[in-house]
């Protein structure tokens, strides 16, 4: 609640792993590319002597593990994270017997809720390189020897003491993924090296002097694959899948075994990489283990006016909530407090006199609890770094052993990412071996476009719950007062820990992400820390491996080559009162790729066509003049991936229909969604120029097909549905975008338009290659077409009732608008579309404009909010200027870096730049500073308004809306502050006619108005009554929200709709009460 929430819209940093990882992130859609760089660190694990797990509390500890015997029992668990380390070889295991060897670790949970750490031995890193024709088995040996020597020389320090770098070189026959080059296999050398990091070195050395290794112009294949992904692909393990260790194939570690346990997991075992069973997540194995999800929140006692710093400001409370995946309520609820705290019903309170003890005990609790997933709000960038740095500062030695490996400390790493859209963003990442940090903020920023990402705003948006917010300047006061005020603080803290769990549950994040991990085959953590590419790579590698292809190592070089994007049919703008049928291509891009067999493996280079004797009939030439072989010659991999994804989606959807159990339904729904997103990201992958394997021939062909198909649909529909062919009217295509076409059939009823829509969709589908399918989905009735990608309509899928109001590209969620704009827009659209009352909409807009000019709009509607990211913007910005101004007034409550600054634009002398006119809404209310209504008219309202009304009113929209009679009356507000205010003296005016009264009278009315006293009194009383009612409803609402009647409301949640209203009503009511009193006390 108090803390700085730093948001990043760009994906957070990837997990830092092997050194040659050059994966770049990729946006979901091809059109908005972002490229970002990151400063890379050599991954350095920090070791120490970690403390033992303690078992102090029945509720905290996991259930004791059953006694297990590898000779009799199988061990089955769901893995949640996979990593690797360099360790000692284990006798009896495959692979090199010379230390160091890479060992994989899989962490997971059994169905009974026991934690498992499984060391997987014997998997060696490798890559492929092309060899000359005369390369023989004996050349392999030379290559091995030479490479071994070269790498050893190259290793400057060799601190790992590697004795043998190159383990094996052998020849394999395979095909390159790139281009159709006939069916002949090519020979590759498969080079296995001792450690993953040696792959990059080997590649570099070979590239530098290929001949010394007996190679000519070598190309590398699969040399840039993450080692963990490599392992998962080769063992068919997908993310969050179930692993079974068969009887006799595994070894249990215990205190007495030869190899001692090194993790904090209850069950620690060893297994050979080829001896376990990886279950595919289908049928029985689609279940989910009871993961422990911990959500926590910390409170710090900051100093006035400074953002808390771990070197100075103590952590005073940590609240934790733990839920088991699938349970409705958290089963552990506790709060660790510094100093005493009154008991809290339903939660455990643990109080400590010293902060060091608090931190130490909390980290003991954390280890004892052994959570699998850690969540919270902005924990990655605030709570974790703060805790770890604070513990370091206080020298709480064992605090940072937070991962599942006993002796590895959790360390904060910075990563900077640069994106075209967002600019520079800093993020932190922390290692928790075996646990998945799942910061809800990062999830929301990735998956949802919201006006604001504060926990308040988010919980209101998704849960319709307002959250009480306490200004950070009073946290220290609450902490220092008494055990009761600390209890109050603890309540906030607990609520902040609970909300992320509620949101996770509501949005089903964990289930959806888990299903995504299963479908795409990557670990859960990758989904949060990395982009779309790794998912496609993982799927592509799996398919390529099955089909005998190798993936070339692409050198990412940004190219500026552009190709034409998706087409839009020029919109015929206007307000359509008749039904508009919409025909959509189902999964357009995937189905194009499938229909035309577009793939890396089917692409024919122009020079190759003749060489490999391809006839005209064997190839397809795409509208972008690229050539692909037909599926009769060779079936492409991408179409195959897409087919299996879409088939799986179909199956999931069918299962969803039959499933009754709500939890299983949510799993299936998450699954079908994950499959859909994955299918769409394949196209993006081929178009990502900085990606792993871009192929512009594919992506430009796809869009070119898309364009021709839209055009084709348009001409077919317009050709067939004409009066000449016996239809009521000539059909007109009024708009078409990427994958949909809007048709006006000219019919008046929904039933008819739906019927014609269905018919047209089937008719056009016939003419396309399978599986491309044009579907009739919905009718817009009425429909307001403003421009390309800007439209609104009432969305019908069945004739009796509309499903929703659909708005695209219209000001509703933009953050730099004030709420008035989006509220007004949605009401106008509602009037236009639902009530079909254009005049009503115009009148409403006029009313709002007139209300605005007459100061009848609630100030909360006019507040614009911006985040204060740094103080030294080159260009002057309103919120920065205001923050500086507020600092001069009161440094204690002024916004700090990272705070969101709300402001309104106020009147100032002519030609004052807008950034100087920003003012704190509270200050405005208290001092009745006049608001600059014309700013709101011109800069906020006018453009969006004209946009939606121009199609209806045409040219005269502007004069009608913005210059009409309703704009003539304006309210004048006299400021209590400002240059002139000091020199003016307020004189009482007659309430009736506003004449200035003689300075010595105390009467309410002048002599001329006296005869109307009753009337004037009654109308003033009416104003008073309205304010009184509002006042009491607002404050009682806040009491209910804060959950206490006897304590004062302290909330300063500025995102809440009623925050300013509450303040404003209080001030106005006071003033009105005084006005009424001027008539004299009623009792006389």
């Amino acid at each position: 609640m108090d803390k700085k929430r730093q948001y990043s819209k760009a994906p957070p940093p990837k997990r830092l792993k092997s050194g040659d990882d050059d994966d770049n992130d990729l946006p979901c859609t091809f059109e908005e590319q972002l490229a970002y760089m990151e400063t890379d660190f050599e991954s350095q694990e920090v070791f120490g002597e970690g403390p033992e797990n303690q078992s102090t509390n029945m509720k905290w500890s996991r259930p004791p593990p059953p006694a297990m015997d590898p000779k009799k029992d199988t061990l089955v668990f769901q893995q949640i994270d996979i990593d690797n380390y360099n360790g000692q070889p284990m006798p009896g295991m495959p692979g090199s017997q010379l230390a160091p060897v890479p060992i994989m670790r899989m962490y997971g949970i059994t169905m009974d809720g026991n934690s498992v750490c499984c060391h997987v031995h014997g998997f060696t890193p490798y890559f492929y390189v092309t060899v000359p024709v005369n390369f023989t088995e004996s050349s392999c040996n030379n290559l091995k020897q030479n490479l071994n020597k070269a790498i050893l020389e190259d290793l400057r320090s060799n601190k790992d003491n590697i004795k043998e770098t190159t383990l094996e070189v052998r020849l394999v026959k395979a095909k390159s993924l790139m281009f159709y080059q006939g069916d002949k296999d090519i020979t590759f050398a498969r080079v296995s090296v001792a450690l993953p990091k040696l792959i990059a070195a080997a590649k570099r050395l070979i590239e530098r002097q290929p001949t010394s290794f007996g190679l000519m112009d070598p190309s590398f294949f699969e040399s840039n694959i993450d080692f963990d992904i490599r392992f998962m692909v080769d063992t068919s393990v997908v993310g969050c899948s179930w692993i079974e260790l068969p009887v006799n194939k595994w070894f249990l570690r215990s205190k007495d075994s030869q190899v001692k346990p090194e993790s904090r997991c209850q069950i620690e075992v060893d297994v050979a990489w080829n001896a376990f069973i990886a279950h595919q997540p289908e049928g029985e194995w689609s279940k989910v283990a009871p993961f422990r999800i911990l959500s926590f929140d910390i409170e710090c006692a900051g100093r006035k006016g400074v953002f808390p710093e771990p070197q100075h400001d103590p952590v005073i409370q940590i609240a934790s909530m733990v839920i088991r995946q699938g349970d409705p309520e958290p089963y552990v609820r506790n709060v660790f407090t510094l100093n005493t705290c009154a008991p809290i019903v339903g939660s455990q309170v643990l109080s400590f006199q010293s902060e060091s003890e608090l931190l130490a005990k909390w980290s003991d609790f954390f280890r004892e609890l052994d959570p699998d997933i850690i969540t919270g709000y902005n924990i990655n960038n605030f709570d974790w770094p703060y805790l770890i740095n604070r513990a370091k500062h206080l020298k709480v030695d064992n605090f940072d052993f937070l991962g599942r490996i006993r002796n590895i400390r959790s360390v904060i790493k910075d990563s900077v990412l640069q994106s075209k859209q967002m600019g520079r963003r800093e993020n932190k990442s922390i290692n928790f071996e075996g646990r998945v940090p799942f910061d809800l903020l990062l999830v929301l920023v990735r998956d949802y476009k919201l006006r604001s990402y504060t926990l308040n705003a988010v919980s209101y948006h998704f849960l319709q719950e307002q959250k009480e917010d306490v200004h950070h300047s009073i946290i220290s006061d609450l902490q220092n007062e008494s055990e009761q005020t600390r209890r109050r603080l603890a309540m906030y803290c607990l609520k902040d820990a609970y909300l992320p769990l509620k949101l996770l549950n509501k949005l089903m994040c964990i289930i959806n992400y888990m299903e995504m991990a299963r479908v795409t085959g990557v670990p859960l953590l990758c989904l949060l820390t990395r982009g779309q590419q790794i998912k496609v790579v993982s799927q592509l590698l799996r398919k390529a491996k099955e089909a005998g292809y190798l993936m070339p190592a692409h050198h990412g070089q940004g190219s500026d080559e552009q190709f034409e994007g998706a087409t839009v049919i020029e919109p015929k703008r206007g307000y359509y009162a008749d039904p508009i049928s919409t025909l959509d291509f189902a999964s357009l891009y995937p189905s194009i790729m499938m229909a035309h067999n577009l793939c890396y493996t089917t692409l024919v280079q122009p020079s190759m066509q003749n060489k490999i004797n391809l006839s005209e009939n064997d190839v397809t030439v795409t509208p972008s003049k690229n050539m692909f072989v037909k599926s009769s010659v060779r079936k492409g991999l991408l179409p195959e991936i897409l087919e299996s994804l879409l088939a799986a989606r179909k199956k999931a959807k069918a299962d969803l229909k039959n499933e009754k159990d709500p939890f299983k339904r949510s799993v299936l729904d998450g699954r079908q969604l994950a499959l859909k997103i994955s299918a769409n990201s394949v196209y993006g992958f081929t178009g990502a120029q900085v990606g792993k394997l871009p192929c512009l021939e594919i992506s430009s062909s796809v869009t070119a097909y898309g364009r021709t198909m839209i055009e084709f649909t348009k001409s077919e529909v317009e050709k067939k549905y004409t009066k000449a062919n016996g239809y009521k009217e000539d059909a007109v295509v009024i708009y078409g975008d990427t994958d949909s076409v809007m048709v006006k059939f000219g019919v008046k009823t929904l039933e008819e338009s739906m019927e014609l829509g269905r018919e047209a969709a089937d008719f056009v589908t016939e003419k396309f290659v399978k599986p491309i399918k044009l579907e009739f989905e919905k009718v817009y009735y009425p429909y307001l077409l403003i421009n390309k990608k800007r439209y609104a309509g009432l969305y019908f899928t069945k004739p009796d009732k509309y499903d929703k109001m659909d708005c695209k590209g219209i000001e509703t969620v933009r953050r730099d608008n004030c709420p008035l704009v989006s509220n007004m827009m949605s009401t106008c659209l509602q009037k236009l579309l639902i009530d079909r009352d254009p005049d009503g909409a115009v009148n409403y807009a006029k009313q709002i404009i007139s209300d605005l000019l007459c100061n009848r709009i609630d100030i909360s509607q006019l507040v614009i909010t911006k985040e204060l990211t740094k103080n030294d913007y080159a260009a002057k910005q309103a919120h920065v200027e205001l923050a500086n101004k507020m600092k001069k007034r009161d440094a204690g409550t002024a916004p700090k870096l990272g705070d969101r600054v709300p402001y309104v634009i106020c009147c100032a002398t002519k030609n004052t730049p807008a950034y100087m006119k920003a003012e704190d809404p509270i200050y405005v209310l208290e001092n009745s500073v006049p608001i600059d209504f014309s700013y709101y008219m011109e800069n906020q309202l006018s453009k969006p308004l004209l946009r939606i009304f121009e199609p209806i009113l045409g040219e005269k929209a502007e004069s009608l809306l913005l210059k009409g009679e309703h704009t003539r009356t304006k309210a004048m507000v006299t400021s209590k502050v400002g240059a002139l205010a000091a020199f003016t003296k307020k004189k009482e005016k007659c309430i009736g006619c506003k004449t200035v009264m003689p300075s010595d009278t105390v009467k309410a009315l002048c002599n001329h108005c006296m005869h109307k006293e009753r009337q004037i009194y009654i109308s003033e009383i009416f104003k008073l009554r309205q304010l009184q009612e509002k006042f009491s409803r607002l404050w009682t609402e806040c009491q209910r929200c804060q959950g206490s009647l006897h304590e004062e409301v302290l909330c300063t949640n500025r995102d809440c709709t009623i925050f300013y209203m509450r303040k404003k009503t209080g001030i106005e009511l006071d003033a009105q009460e005084k006005t009424v009193l001027r008539f004299g006390e009623p009792s006389w």
Partner: protein, 438 residues
């Protein structure tokens, strides 16, 4: 005896006779309603604190008497031993899903589908908590029915807290209606007339009845016998609904009131000329909407204020008429309790409020209320002899007898504009009748 239809001495002698209007001592005891702080920078927490503090003092001896000293009275923050039976004192708060929320209404303005307005907000999921100065605790137990209590009532509960932090209630102790001043013995009949809902802004239909009422009160109708009885009316109290009745749909606009207030001025003047008149406002009348409501402003009644017997009073209103404490409201608190509970009988609700010793427990939660700071004006200090509730749909009356011999005449004063009925109470025996004018 008044209004016996077949008066035994029904001689038709229409001769003029002078009758002296009887007088009794009268004291306005509404100071606490009049003098509340009206500082709108304050919040509602204060009124709850004041209420709880007062009740703690009231309840402690009652609890001692009821449950002896065996069980400790604890604050919620002192509840440390689970399972131990103890007594807790606090304010009830009822979670009600259907309780109207301004926050929801504001966000619904932007939604497409408007909700149908409700008049009753009870739902099966309603649940209770008890709150003291610092904490809340969830309540369960047979002996406290969530549907027959409301938010804002203070009580003492006997029970214990379980492992999950829920308090199981074994017994409840209410504050009770307090002690009553001994009722004076009267030698002759003295009547108080209670009227409500004159509703002069909507007079067309009941104008005739209104005139009958006026004539009757002024002694211009009936026989001399009859007139003599009328002369025993010592006071007329108008319990709200003066210009507009609560039952009126929608809100009245200002212009309706201008004419209505003139009519009311004349009526009040006429009435005050014949008997002392107390005029209480109610929620739709032109004075503030927050309880306690201030009296009407004098400028509204230029004619009537010429009479000393014209008394503009607060709502709620308490006075002493010849030693009988008379307390009542214009009906809002009682109606509000019915909206938020399954209690549906006005008399029963009135008894409850006596039992709870608070005439408006749901104020400020669901009734607009002045943010008082030091006191809760709604607490009943002395058990009244007459307790009335204005703006009721129909006349009803009952005699409430308290544990300590308190006797209270409960009166539901019906809306005159709908029922053409007024209530009369004979102070001599606390009997109550209705009288219809049509």
């Amino acid at each position: 005896m008044l209004f016996k239809a077949e008066s035994s001495k029904a001689e038709n002698t229409f001769q003029a006779c002078e009758l002296e209007r009887q007088e009794v001592d009268y004291t306005d005891c509404s100071k606490r309603f009049q003098e509340v702080a009206r500082d709108f920078s304050k919040q509602y927490a204060h009124i709850y604190s004041a209420r709880l503090n007062t009740y703690r003092n009231i309840l402690t001896p009652i609890v001692r008497k009821k449950w002896s000293d065996r069980h400790k009275i604890l604050k919620l923050c002192e509840l440390r031993d689970k399972g131990t039976t103890c007594v807790i004192i606090g304010t009830l708060f009822k979670f009600q899903e259907l309780k109207p929320s301004i926050l929801k209404e504001l966000s619904d303005q932007l939604e497409i589908i408007p909700q149908a307005p409700r008049t009753h907000f009870v739902h099966d999921s309603d649940s209770l908590v008890l709150e003291d100065e610092l904490q809340r605790i969830k309540l369960v137990g047979e002996c406290i029915d969530v549907h027959s209590v409301v938010t804002g009532v203070v009580c003492a509960l006997l029970g214990s807290e379980d492992e999950d932090g829920i308090f199981t209630v074994q017994d409840v102790c209410w504050a009770g209606c307090g002690i009553q001043k001994p009722l004076p013995k009267l030698s002759s009949d003295k009547y108080v007339v209670l009227i409500s809902g004159l509703n002069t802004s909507k007079t067309a239909e009941h104008m005739f009845s209104l005139h009958l009422l006026m004539e009757w009160l002024s002694g211009l109708s009936g026989t001399s016998e009859y007139q003599e009885e009328v002369s025993k009316i010592v006071r007329v109290i108008v319990a709200g609904g003066v210009l507009a009745s609560q039952t009126n749909e929608g809100t009245e606009n200002e212009s309706d009131f201008i004419a209505a207030v003139e009519l009311m001025d004349s009526l009040a003047a006429t009435l005050s000329a014949v008997a002392p008149l107390d005029l209480m406002p109610s929620s739709k009348d032109p004075t503030g909407i927050m309880l306690p409501q201030k009296p009407f402003h004098y400028c509204l009644f230029p004619k009537a204020i010429e009479y000393k017997s014209f008394n503009r009073v607060t709502n709620p209103y308490e006075c002493d008429i010849g030693g009988f404490t008379c307390l009542g409201t214009s009906g809002e608190p009682i109606k509000d309790i019915m909206r938020y509970s399954k209690l549906d009988n006005t008399l029963e609700v009135m008894k409850k409020t006596l039992l709870w010793r608070n005439i408006a427990p749901t104020c400020p939660d669901t009734i607009p209320c002045t943010p008082c700071t030091d006191t809760d004006p709604f607490i009943i200090y002395n058990c009244p002899a007459i307790y009335f509730c204005g703006n009721c749909p129909e006349f009803a009356t009952d005699l409430y007898e308290g544990e300590n011999g308190q006797r209270t005449r409960l009166v539901c004063v019906p809306n005159f504009c709908d029922s053409m009925t007024v209530a009369l109470i004979n102070l001599a025996n606390l009997e109550c009748y209705s009288m219809k004018f049509s």
